[in-house]
Amino acid sequence: MKEEKIDSIECREKSSGATSDADHTFTIGELKAGPPCCEPLPIVEISNLSLAYSGATVLRDVNLTIYRGCITALIGPSGCGKTSFLSSLNRLSDMNPRCTVSGKIELRGENILSPRVNVTALRRRVGMIFQKPNPFPLSIRRNIELGLRQHRLARGSGLGERVEKSLRDVGLWDEVKDRLDSSALALSGGQQQRLCIARAIALEPEILLLDEPCSALDPISTEIIENLIRQLSCRFTVIMVTHNLGQAQRLADFTALFWTCEGTGQLIEHGPTADIFQNPRHGLTAAYVNGRAG
């Protein structure tokens, strides 16, 4: 009851539009210190993005800019459209025929929602890691090779080199080099997730989408994956959904809070992580990061 109350009050406060950030110009202030490779250059610009399933809107009017080489965390309670949002960024939303996406997502100036976009090529540029590690029931080697072959990124002996390189990148090489041809399903959960990251980064994407990448893992594996994400963030732009606020604080340069208002998900506030957690501008953000709502 209490939560609902906070929710309704805060949502109304926002929709009344009294303050300047009630509009879509969210609080992207000055870029604060992150890793040096997090540059203040927009790589993805999302404008008026709405998403509906069978006509029921689950996400409305999202405006958000993602910066190159930075980690952006998407936080918010379950069911507020974070994962749907993520899956529109690589058009995985296409797989659900009932899902319609409108608005604009510009990746380096090109609207990826356009029907002319080559989805296969787009998904090479925008890799995705899922909540539950999902290696294919094939050998470790084959898991990585499939994508490389599809996109003709390597052939012959080049394949082996790319496999080794991507496994080294995720710190898995020494653990698996003697059993590359045995099944990926024999790996532990944390290793499987690293393999999934390896097969995504083998394609040299520009962006990595992570959908709660640690929520199915134990604390030690979580720490390994977190360190890995931190290392990778210089080479890739990372957008991750997380329910773990500590994780967002530890990793993310930017954080965006999503919330369900009147049945549809909306972006409430976006800004440098430190601001979101220490100086939230929206009442809901303050309530959520302090554990009072959500």
């Binding site: 690589n90 995985l92 797989m95 025929p97 989805v119 296969t120 090529a121 787009l122 998904r123 090479r124 890799g127 995705m128 899922f130 539950k132 999902n134 290696p135 294919f136 029931p137 094939l138 084959r142 499939l146 994508g147 072959r149 599809q150 996109h151 099944s183 399903l185 024999a186 999934c196 097969r199 995504a200 394609l203």
Partner: protein, 289 residues
Amino acid sequence: MSPYRTDRILIGTLRCAAVVSGLIVAVVALFLVSESVPALRQIGPYRFFTDSAWHPAPHSGESTFNLVPMIVGTLTVTAGALALATPLGLGSAMFLRFYAPPKLGVIYRKIIELLAGIPSVVFGFWGLVTIVPLINSIHAPGASLLAGICILAIMILPTVALVSDAAFEVVPKEYVKGAAALGLSRWATIRGVVIPSAKSGLFTAIILQTGRALGETMAVLMVCGNVVQVPKSVFEPVRTLTANIALEMAYALDPHRSALFVSGLLLLTLVAGLVLLADVLSRRYECSQ
């Protein structure tokens, strides 16, 4: 022992059901063996393969019991039917699961289920009045190995399609999503991810169908011509082991009757071998996971 009475009754009932099902197989196998023993004793196992022909009850002279033409007939009809039905069945299952619009998929699946439910004698009858004349117009006499292959292929096709479809259905959605997220094309996803994960189910589909094809009697009997000979081309008539039993059972006396049981035993052994093979293959598949 469970403290609940209903549980104990249930367990007892289930045990009985299991024992009865197991016993039936054992009794049939024993019966086949015991009926075959006189022929195996009198004629000996080798003469079934080395005799000059199949003349189990001649008006004069010595009986001969060569089963080889019938074995060849059974194996060629089965192999031909599998060669036709497997790619068609797999293909239609793939279409159903990965390419067909959902509504069409539902209708298509219903049609295939209906096809699977048509009794074999109807297939045989249909084959006799359409396929046999058609083949006859190309090459006489029409009733032939080819006709048998066609009819059998049509008969096992729906089950291959349905069992493969079921095997594709249980491939976890995460695999398909993962493949899509890597930008794999639909065909690369099917070939690289879906088929390998559905392998065990697909093998089972094919092996079960082999068993069914080996055992099919009525339709094959109606279109194959039933001449006891090793066919030199697909247009020549053949007789299968099953047709042989069905045709001669009514008038066979010992040792002819017992020889027919030997061919039944042979069929049972073939099918048992297939079941074992299916088991070994699926186990090997599980190990490789």
